[in-house]
Symmetry: C2
Subunit: 386 residues, 2 copies
């Protein structure tokens, strides 16, 4: 039976065409706002103009240049600027990386400790935060409706998650039209990221959580169904809207209520990005199908359920297990994302050694049964490299 749980998600999620205009209804008049963004795509796709138009009359400063996999080093510059300027509201405009970075900034501004990296290493140190909201332009991470952030440190090649109730956005504005200008590769990555989030909260062992399971399957089916149009028709509102909403509910705390989860794929993926700079979503595709094969006996019950319900597979249970894993790999491949580490030139035997070392240092196992050891991770990587 599924475990006890608490669901408490106060994010105001504002979804649809033209909703950027609702910004002033959601930020107190007189706020001193720091606008955070990434590499400048918001200037090309009209989002910056929409935001500044909506925020006429507010006192605004800007901090751009937050990179994909936002770094502590960059973000601390934003913290300094925000303190100097007495910023009291942060508005993230961009994708999950900008938003994750903004979450860190929000906690780091009031932090009085000496080393702000501690906020990443130890989420219990998160105290007061500067309130923040976001305009999301890239559906993928689910950060818009959860309290997690993933932050990297260049100096030590680390990439780590932080989280806590105070890191929920006050509001998130999701206008599917802001995704029209995304490069196809980013849409593919977003679909893969969202798909993997669901799989990691679902593909464990059955505990009779019927709603959680069926909601997870609903999201997977939706992502599979919309992927071709979302990828290939850049101004198709329907597929972009469904993709965007699917990515949000994939990681807003709804499908993992009381159920076991297996975040090993994300854990390994973060290290691959930290070592080699490979796109986050691509690192997940390198790991998940091989992890499923390696753990197919332990995940058998759920693999069969997934094969039947999500992929409508017929056959013996053994056949369904294997086909379900193959279908999973094929889904990533259909997005143009290779699922073999051997397709990524950066990954070699040295990578596997470093990976194993990182997991040995952490001194804990991963997976829903806490039985994925550093050795297992090395074996999964070797399967991916074969």
């Amino acid at each position: 039976m599924f475990n006890n749980f608490t669901f408490h998600n106060p994010v105001k999620l504002i979804f649809g065409k033209g909703t950027i205009a609702q910004l002033p209804k959601n930020i107190a008049a007189g706020s001193k706002i720091m606008l955070t963004y990434g590499g400048g795509s918001i200037f090309k796709n009209g989002v910056y103009d929409q935001v500044t138009e909506a925020l006429k009359g507010y006192d605004i400063i800007e901090f751009g240049g937050i990179e994909a996999n936002p770094t502590y080093e960059t973000l601390m510059k934003a913290v300094e600027l925000a303190k100097k300027e007495n910023v009291n509201f942060l508005l993230s405009v961009g994708g999950g990386s900008v938003l994750d970075g903004t979450k860190f900034i929000s906690a780091a501004i009031p932090y009085e400790g000496e080393d702000h990296w501690e906020l990443v290493l130890n989420s219990s140190k998160i105290g007061e935060v500067v309130p923040f909201g976001d305009v999301l332009t890239l559906p993928a991470t689910g950060s818009e409706m959860n309290y997690y952030a993933v932050i990297s440190k260049k100096e030590t090649k680390e990439k780590k998650g932080m989280g806590g109730f105070k890191l929920y956005p006050k509001f998130s504005i999701l206008d599917p039209e802001t995704t029209y200008s995304l490069p196809k590769k980013q849409v593919a990555n977003g679909l893969a990221d969202a798909f993997t989030h669901v799989m990691e909260q679902y593909m464990t062992y059955p505990v009779g959580a019927m709603i959680q399971d069926r909601f997870a399957e609903s999201i997977l089916q939706t992502l599979i169904e919309v992927a071709p149009d979302a990828m290939n028709k850049e101004d198709d509102y329907e597929s972009r809207a469904n993709y965007m909403w699917a990515a949000t509910v994939a990681l807003n705390g709804l499908i993992n209520l009381g159920v076991p989860t297996d975040w090993a794929t994300h854990q390994v993926g973060h290290e691959l990005t930290a070592f080699h700079g490979i796109d986050h979503a691509r690192t997940l595709a390198i790991v998940l199908p091989h992890l499923l094969t390696y753990k197919k006996d332990k995940k058998r019950g759920k693999l069969i359920q997934y094969g039947k319900r999500v992929w409508n597979l017929l056959g013996s249970d053994d056949e369904i297990v294997d086909m379900a894993i193959r279908k999973t790999a094929e889904f990533y491949e259909s997005l143009g994302i290779p699922t073999k580490a051997s397709s990524y030139g950066e990954i070699n035997e040295e990578t596997v050694k470093m990976l194993k070392q990182r997991f040995v240092e952490r001194g804990m196992n991963f997976g829903e049964n806490a039985d994925i050891t550093p050795d297992d991770i090395a074996k999964i990587m070797e399967m991916s490299m074969a």
Copy 2:
């Protein structure tokens, strides 16, 4: 395409065995609490003891006797008592009726107008409220995670909905074990009520809202699947937990995001309860199957989708439409709830006349296309009485 929407549901939902013990973590120390409850079942099933044990040290008064279909007349007595005793927190212990009544009390205590019934007739009059939480013992109405309440007035035989952001509970505690002592008839009613809530947000016309549709179908499938065990095995935690969580997500604002809805069944059902005192859930079963038959051309697209996905029906589209409606009626019947008005002795030609008159007075049509007139409602009732 589905419409723009805002999702903002700040309820802290605490779910599972033994969670009543978490009450003190969720009510400020020193609060003056008014415990509200119904006919006294909480004394027999141990819930009252668990609640008072958890709340040792708080200053508590009690107001019992809130009836099914809570009445303005009863609730105003609670308002007087709460004002006299300077209550600053309300704790509803019971089912949806007690909770709905508590929502009214919370808004009515600070209300300064002359006629508190105005709060029901015109939700914009809801101002400040006394904060409240609940321990839910009967899964059905979804009130634990939404901001609606349905209140009746004895004097005029009225039953009406009120709602507003301030009527979200601060927290809701759902322990499936508290349902073990429910009479079978109440479990049946709860399953029927939750099922109908989903149908009224889903059975309209398709707008390409893939997540909303699939989540709705997930809840319907779960209710259908757990119904036999939930009905017949009074201490089966798994079926009770799934039923309880299904009833919550059936009406917490998730499945109706941006999609058309058709609340005609509830509208008619409320009148049938107001006239004759028939159980709420039973009034829904009297209406919905016949409404679906009457409107089967307008609802055709969704009926086919529902038939295929929820009931796994095969056949021609025409056959699936008819079978899907029949399956719906059979589901109610399987709960021991008749779907023909003719099975309820109270309903007669006079009822239909009064019903029609009520809807004429409202001066508006119902249904997702606003094309269900008072005449249509009379015809649907006649189908049910045939």
